[in-house]
Symmetry: C2
Subunit: 138 residues, 2 copies
């Protein structure tokens, strides 16, 4: 797990054609800090622990900007919260039903067979596999 300086992050943002402002760098810091999968309110909390105060609107704006620029991924597993994932390598997820915890599964080893062909004119945007797990004997 790499740790990025604020300058590194500015570079990463520029590489994705994103104007690196203070707020965006702090939000990127939170996402790339290795805390795994964060929801918008967790990002907001982390950023506001630091020096640079940021508003809710900016966090939401920035997350959808990062998403559009393929800097992060959206993970939809919880009915009332979206998680954001700084890992853009192809991968899937374990989802612990009891704790809500998400764990990555490297996709290079995983293969899916037997999917039907797509309807005409449709293309695949991505395949998400979610393995829902829980503790034995609950």
């Amino acid at each position: 797990m790499t740790v990025y300086s604020r300058d590194d992050l500015a570079g990463v943002l520029r590489d994705h054609a994103i104007n690196p402002t203070h707020q965006r760098i702090e939000i990127a810091r939170a996402l790339f800090s290795g805390h795994g999968h964060l929801s918008a309110d967790q990002v907001l909390a982390m950023v506001n622990d630091q020096r640079c105060e940021t508003s809710k609107a900016t966090v939401y704006n920035t997350l959808s900007l990062f998403l559009r620029k393929n800097l992060i991924r959206e993970v939809i597993v919880d009915p009332n919260k979206v998680f954001y994932d700084a890992n853009t390598m192809p991968h899937h997820h374990f989802y612990n039903i009891d704790t809500g915890e998400l764990t990555d599964i490297d996709a290079t080893a995983v293969s899916v067979q037997g999917l039907p062909t797509l309807p005409d004119g449709m293309i695949t945007e991505g395949v998400d596999i979610i393995v829902r797990i829980r503790s034995e004997g609950v």
Copy 2:
């Protein structure tokens, strides 16, 4: 696609140890009407088109009751809405990003290889595969 009478549905509910009340039968009718995947508010709208008016609370109560009794399944693909699926056979989904439309994929033909072993003491509750698709050239 089978069509159920209200009496059939009452039987289905009883088979799942659910007391078949008027409201529950109407909600089951909506879910099993072949409209595919419905959100809570769609169910509410369909039920209130019929004779028997039903409150929002009852729809939510009933949906989670049906879920607990394995009469229906929950499909989580849309960030701001849960869909309910009367098809409890093992299956996966195509999700049309543009229209929000969900289509079933029979799971009997699909196989997944290369998933890592679970952490100790954990068991798999289910594997969901979502193939996100969209129209070519958007």
